[in-house]
Amino acid sequence: HSEPGVGGGPGGACRTRRLHVSFREVGWHRWVIAPRGFLANFCQGVCTLPEALQAPGGPPVLNHAVLHALMHAAAPTQGAGPPCCVPARLSPISVLFFDNSDNVVLRHYEDMVVDECGCR
């Protein structure tokens, strides 16, 4: 399940959008014990100026994404296009499930949840 884009479409500044992954949806709810699902989220939005600038409270501004956005603003039809809206901070999840030998297994997966998005 994902939230509809802001303003009805994928517009607005680059930011985290809700995406809930349900193990029942993919038919694995019989052997995944917990969680039932998790908020994976995703990144969407524009990375032109000023959106390419960091959100208030973020790190100092001048980085490659800003230069990239400046070049795109100066020559929108040429060059590499705007920076990309990508995950900037991720966090792990753990999944408890029965394996095919009926053992109870706990597996830990890094970088499964998008906490923050940024222009890169």
Binding site: G27, W31, N100, S101, D102, V105, L106, H108, E110
Partner: protein
């Protein structure tokens, strides 16, 4: 219906699993230790303020990103055995199916967990010996004090399970009770292996020193 084809295969691979889940598993209670470990790793609790180290099992204090609770696959087919005898008590064989462990996973903790039951008599000084079982029982690897009713734990890493080596597909152990002068025998009612492994491929690269 579960996604099939490349989508399911990609998702399984991303989750480090290479077999398509087989229908409905045999329902069995989830061991409390596994629930505890799961909750300990729940990111929401992590956000509540005790940071999680990647590829580390805090509660057991070892490196690892996969924990398995493997029951003895022969437990329910074992005859109860005599509760009293002047001779030797029956020996037990426990078998753990490790076929699900990948070659890239290295064990960092292998804890044997047992529970014995016996009639109430003097069981002071009871000990249990553990040996690897191939065609015949091997040499005694370790001997641990036991008491009926209590959960007995024995660390097998470095003894029955080689550290930093790939796991065998099956681990078979021969257990023998040494009970001193009493004529009481015990029954083995629970036997499981708590196995922690580290698959370094799934771990974030170590941060370079600045």
């Amino acid at each position: 219906p579960a996604p099939s084809g490349p989508a399911a295969a990609a998702l399984l691979q991303a989750l480090g699993m290479h077999e398509v889940p087989r229908g409905v598993p045999t329902p069995r209670p989830v061991p409390p230790v596994m629930w505890r470990l799961f909750r300990r790793r729940d990111p929401r609790e992590a956000r509540a303020g005790y940071p999680l180290r990647p590829c580390h099992v805090e509660e057991l204090g070892v490196a690892g990103n996969i924990v398995r609770h493997i029951p003895d696959s022969g437990l329910f087919s074992r005859p109860p055995g005599p509760t009293k005898t002047l001779g030797l008590c029956p020996k037990w064989t426990v078998t753990f199916n490790l076929s699900g462990v990948e070659p890239a996973e290295h064990p960092t903790r292998a804890r044997l967990e047992l529970r014995l039951e016996a009639e109430n008599e003097d069981t002071h000084g009871w000990e249990l010996s553990v040996a690897l079982l191939a065609k015949h029982p091997g040499p005694e690897l370790l001997r641990i004090p036991v008491a009926p009713g209590l959960l007995v734990r024995a660390d097998l890493l470095g003894a029955a399970v080689a550290a930093n080596a790939s796991m065998p597909r099956t681990l078979r152990l021969a257990l023998a009770l040494h009970r001193g002068a009493t004529t009481v025998c015990a029954r083995l009612t629970e036997a499981s292996l708590l196995l922690v492994t580290l698959d370094a491929r799934l771990c974030p690269p170590p941060r370079l020193r600045r």
